[in-house]
Symmetry: C2
Subunit: 203 residues, 2 copies
């Protein structure tokens, strides 16, 4: 946890900013305008504070990008570290990783959305892309292992299969609305039903 | 087809532009910078011509956005109009629409990529989003009908199922490279294997 900021005069009666809420503002602006198209002026304006107040809290926009992408990636790697992702048959571990990634996506939607838009335009973005590839390699390994254990049909290309599974999961950021009545559990069930069980009846 | 442009002095020995190639340049710049962050100056610079030469060919950047999004959406609706999407059992029609959408995505990747990034920031984008929703409604209808015909297991939410299917398909724009050795056929097979047949062995 970061230390609480010192109390200071707020710019409006309703809003007080600390590094956490500034991160939320920044992620929203980055997602709307693109990181490269966002200046500190844009961020300060969106937060309703002066640019110098903004610099009181953060070194610059790159720090905010880094913190947002780390939050999303740390969440994904924490999923891989969970006991149910580490022990047991690969099919059960894969299903666990898929369901918990859906949970994370819903819990951290703004940060995951930003992560998925990253194109590698600077060092922070390139580092995040490298970690995404590392995550994807762990998924490919689970797919291959589940195939070897006979719990998944052999696919021609386990890397492609892993990409398709997470392509489906990641696509949820585009339309998911927290108030829309779909729980993480229902979304996880739907992904598992489509991808693992398949939609054709099993006779 | 649009009429061929009049011959005119080229700005370089290697590049001559017409409305089609300017569209390709514009789509690349829109995708990199975001449409809102792109000016006519950016487009002219990327094309290596003057702004006034650019205006000789197109009314403005909105025209290029409209033409790109129309190209992607017209392609999708053409898929729905194909005979194999119109006749026969719903499961076969759904599979056809999925495979042909993969074909389109690969053939028109830059335009489909732009379409998928659209957020409804102007009338052209809102119109494209409305057409995407219309396409998605047609998919939902096919899923429902295939469930009613007993060729797909009943899902709790056919709209969600359709979104997941096309979420997977659309996610390919993020990583597909034309020279990567994966054919449209192989990608279509993989999507059908994962989503319709499911990855768990059928005993």
């Amino acid at each position: 946890m970061e230390p609480s900021p010192q109390p200071r005069p707020a710019r409006s009666r309703t809003q007080r900013y600390d590094p956490h809420s500034l991160l939320d503002v920044a992620v929203r602006v980055f997602t709307e305008r693109g990181y490269d198209g966002t200046s500190m002026e844009h961020l300060a304006k969106a937060a309703g504070i002066t640019k110098s107040s903004f610099y009181h809290h953060v070194d610059g926009k790159e720090e905010l990008l880094r913190r947002s992408l780390e939050r999303a990636m740390d969440g994904l790697f924490a999923v891989l570290d969970e006991e149910q992702s580490q022990r047991g048959r690969a099919i059960a571990r894969l299903e666990h990783v898929m369901r918990r990634s859906v949970d994370l996506l819903i819990r951290e939607q703004p940060h995951v959305t930003l992560l998925l838009r990253v194109r590698g335009n600077n060092d922070v973005e390139r580092h995040a892309l490298e970690r995404r590839r590392e995550f994807q390699r762990a998924v490919t390994k689970l797919v291959l292992q589940a195939e070897e254990e006979g719990d998944l049909v052999p696919t021609k290309d386990a890397r492609l299969t892993g990409r398709l599974l997470f392509g489906m999961i990641n696509s949820m950021v585009e339309w998911y609305h927290p108030g829309g009545g779909l729980s993480a559990r229902a979304l996880g069930d739907a992904v598992v039903q489509v991808c693992l069980d398949g939609l054709r009846p099993r006779t």
